[in-house]
């Protein structure tokens, strides 16, 4: 049981980081379906820099930075040029898949090398707690990052002025603009910050959950992160629960595979994705999305 919980948390972390990033972006009124691509860039960037520098920490930072750079591209088209958000998001996904695939083959002919990885760090005393000790406090630094930024983000959204402005822009861009809140500036910043988190999430895949980069290694996790935002009803607390739910589903799936049930492994592999569909079907209809989500804002249009 404890092992399952520990695995659930471990597998939930990339999903949670990416979903929190997406939350920031969506709360500003931008729908970014390019999360998958941003994660992939983060995974590759983190891996390549960790291999080159020998430092996982530099790698993680590089992963975040790589995705943030792609985020600037996304923000330029979507916020500045006001292009269709779905089209640009799709383009980012395709671009990231192609570019990282090309780069890994060009840089490492033959086979991608093994990169340094994050080990688990036990927090003294807390890691000895029953049941949750191992799951929360004998983990990689990514888990501690989540423990830190989730409450911080929840507080910032509810109580800080930048958080209030972010919500205002996403709920009613016109109202925010009329009150002197810079809509483009706020959205640009939100995309940048959200991309950074998506990149960190990607680097968690290549630097903590495995020790190398393989083409398309995100395997749809970016899209699951989108689902998590919806399932978590655009609230940090809800998103944590939704991410744990999907983390648990993945952990269960691994467990079933290892046990060797009669089920073909392809079926158990489908579990997280089937759950995604089910959740989307059930969660739709409840509207708590930001009211201006997906709408480009033009000041002089009526």
């Amino acid at each position: 049981m404890e092992a399952l919980l520990e695995a659930a948390v471990r597998l939930a972390v990339p999903l949670l980081l990416a979903a929190l990033g997406e939350l920031i972006i969506e709360r500003s009124g931008i729908i970014n379906i390019g999360t998958e691509g941003l994660m992939l860039c983060g995974a590759f960037g983190g891996f390549a820099i960790a291999v080159a520098s020998g430092s996982v920490w530099l790698g993680a930072a590089g992963g975040g930075a790589a995705a943030a750079c792609v985020g600037v591209l996304f923000a330029y088209f979507v916020v500045v040029r006001r292009a269709d958000q779905i089209v640009v998001g799709t383009a980012i996904n395709l671009l990231a898949l192609g570019a990282t695939g090309l780069a890994v083959r060009a840089l490492y002919p033959g086979m991608a090398p093994v990169s340094p990885t994050f080990g688990t760090v036990a927090v003294p005393l807390l890691s000895e707690l029953p049941v949750i000790g191992g799951a929360l406090f004998r983990q990689t630094p990514y888990v501690y990052l989540c423990l830190l930024i989730t409450p911080l983000l929840a507080f910032a959204l509810a109580r800080s002025r930048p958080g209030l402005r972010l919500r205002a822009v996403g709920e009613c861009a016109r109202a925010a603009d009329a009150e002197g809140v810079g809509v483009s500036r706020t959205r640009f910043a939100a995309v940048l910050l959200g991309s950074l988190l998506a990149g960190l999430a990607g680097s968690a895949l290549s630097l903590a959950q495995s020790n190398t980069f393989t083409e398309g290694m995100t395997a749809g996790r970016g899209f699951i992160a989108l689902t998590i935002v919806i399932f978590g009803r655009w609230r940090p607390g809800g998103i944590v629960l939704a991410a744990l739910f999907f983390g648990a589903a993945s952990a269960l799936q691994h467990r079933l595979q290892a046990r060797g049930t009669d089920l073909p492994y392809q079926l158990t592999l489908m579990l997280p994705y089937v759950l995604t569909l089910l959740v989307l079907a059930l969660a739709s209809g409840r509207s708590s999305a930001p009211a201006d989500l997906g709408k480009a804002y033009r000041r002089e249009s009526r």
Binding site: R159, S160, R161, P162, L164, R165, R167, A168, E171, C172, R174, A175, A176, D177, A178, E179, G180, V181, P290, A291, R299, E300, R302
Partner: protein
């Protein structure tokens, strides 16, 4: 003190020779002069499309003028740099017709998010106490802590005025503030505006309603087709003169042709004990009895959100009745869109942007929209007869004087008045026996309103029945032969001799005076 007095003589804002066009060669504003002094209520009159909104959007920095000059308290402003934040710093604030508060937030949060004073965190409690203090001082009542989306139209408007005052507004622009208010709410708003004037602030009051302008304004500026057609002081106000400045012609009194063959014995349509669920937490309908006879206009007055939408939807056949019955010609009918239409019941939607017309469709496509099931004129074997359809649309365009006179134009490019003309023309084209008209002149200017009113009266004269559901009390009183009020989903009779105050009481409480 003397400096303050010298400053008071200068206009808060002065616009000189403002030009603006969104599309080259199609000016929206032409050499417009406009100024507001401290302690003044300056009314701005004009038809739809006269340029009022654009002028105000320039004032608050949302739209940039192409040419002209702006001075704030005597200091010239760089046109290129005059954006919303510059306007806000100058103390210019607008209360829009459609609330610009963020609906998902509380009023207090709405006060906080652009508060220039604070640091990284915002203080909900301090905002709440500021709100309470202002609402006390100007007697503008807003329930504390409520989310904006739960407030009534009037409460939202008061919240918006309070927010502007909280920002330190010196010039307040109100865009048709009484359009959605009850007579009582309107009566309460005027003293608050006078208190603002007394405090030395400037108020711009945009309206269609001449009597309100006469009651309130110190000066009136009239816009027609993007140019100022006159500025009058309070002493010179006269409804006829204002109407002439606005329209460019005299507006004669509305004629009421008498109805032919108005048999009162058997109603054309009768609702008995109708109850229906409310939408989105609305009040729904409870035990509604209502009858409409041939050659009669029955007016349903009431404040928005008291069951109008539900009643409209039941009569359009898109909302289920929970109990009760609908009879047409004395026979019970299951309300369904096609059944009702085949019985000659026509529906002029109160929500023409969302239910009446489809923006993005051409005039022709909208014209034949409701005919698409069975009408042999426009369809043969399920295929569109394009030439016939556009010919029919062109006839309507000519008959109803719709601009642009182009059957292939996108409906989204039509002004509100022309879009409504198209909708009215379409509903009347089938010679309905009963027309359910919901807020048929909402947002229309004087000329277009007159046109719609004349059409409704003409329909009545042709012995058809009209059920007029309108939140505009004046309209109901002007047109209806008989009035009822909707209040919290129940229908209450309005006595023929009731005065406005009594009707207001019925609309609010449902009890007769």
């Amino acid at each position: 003190m003397s400096a303050a007095r010298a400053g008071a003589a200068l206009p808060l804002i002065e616009l000189t020779a403002i030009d603006k066009s969104f599309v080259p060669q199609r000016p929206v504003l032409r050499r417009v002069d406009f100024d507001v002094r401290p302690g003044e209520i300056h009314a701005l009159l004009g038809e739809n499309g006269a340029g009022k909104s654009t002028l105000m959007n320039i004032l608050i920095g949302l739209v940039r003028a192409n040419a002209g000059a702006i001075e704030i308290s005597g200091r010239p402003v760089d046109l290129a740099r005059f954006g919303p934040s510059a306007a806000a710093r100058a103390g210019i604030s607008m209360v829009h017709q459609h609330s610009t508060l963020v609906p998902a937030m509380s009023v207090e949060e709405n006060l906080c998010f652009a508060d220039p004073s604070g640091g990284l965190l915002f203080d909900r409690r301090r905002a709440a106490s500021r709100l309470a203090e202002l609402s006390q001082r100007y007697q503008l009542d807003v329930p504390p802590g409520a989310r904006v989306e739960d407030l009534s139209v009037g409460q939202r408007q008061r919240a918006e005025i309070l927010r502007a005052l909280d920002r330190g507004a010196r010039l307040l622009i109100l865009d048709e503030p009484t359009a959605a208010l009850t007579p009582g709410e309107t009566a309460a708003l005027f003293p608050a505006l006078r208190r603002l004037r007394a405090s030395g602030r400037g108020v711009v009051f945009i309206s269609h309603k001449l009597d309100e302008v006469e009651a309130l304004a110190d000066r009136v500026t009239v816009l027609r087709r993007g140019a100022v057609s006159g500025t009058l002081a309070a002493g010179e106000l006269d409804a006829r003169e204002l109407g002439r400045l606005m329209l460019g012609r005299d507006l004669s009194a509305l004629e009421r042709p008498s109805a032919s063959g108005g048999e009162r014995s058997s109603p054309l349509m009768r609702l008995r004990g109708l109850s229906a669920a409310g939408l989105g937490g609305g009040c729904g309908l409870h035990d509604v009895d209502l009858a409409v006879h041939r050659g009669e206009i029955v007016g349903v007055a009431g404040i928005d959100g008291n069951g109008q939408r539900e009643l409209e939807e039941v009569l359009a056949g898109v909302r289920r009745m929970d109990s009760g019955s609908l009879e047409v010609d004395g026979k019970p009918v299951r309300p369904h869109v096609r059944t009702l239409r085949s019985l000659g019941v026509s529906h002029l939607s109160g929500d023409r942007e969302r239910a009446g017309l489809i923006p993005g469709f051409s005039l022709t496509e909208n014209w034949i929209l409701k005919a698409s099931h069975s009408d042999e004129r426009f369809f043969s074997h399920g295929l569109l007869r394009a030439a016939t359809a556009s010919e029919a649309t062109r006839v309507a365009i000519a008959h109803f004087d719709i601009t642009p006179a182009d059957a292939a134009a996108d409906v989204a490019t039509l002004s509100g008045g022309n879009a409504q003309k198209l909708a009215v023309a379409r509903e009347l084209s089938g010679e309905p026996r009963l027309l359910v008209a919901v807020n048929p002149t909402r947002g229309l200017d004087v000329g277009s309103t007159r046109f719609v009113h004349e059409q409704l009266l003409a329909l009545r004269a042709r012995a058809a029945a009209v059920l007029l559901i309108s939140t505009e009390l004046d309209e109901v009183l002007l047109l209806a032969d008989r009035c009822v009020a909707l209040s919290r989903g129940r229908v209450h009779a309005i006595p023929a001799d009731a005065d406005r105050a009594a009707i207001g009481a019925i609309m609010l409480g449902g009890q007769g005076a």
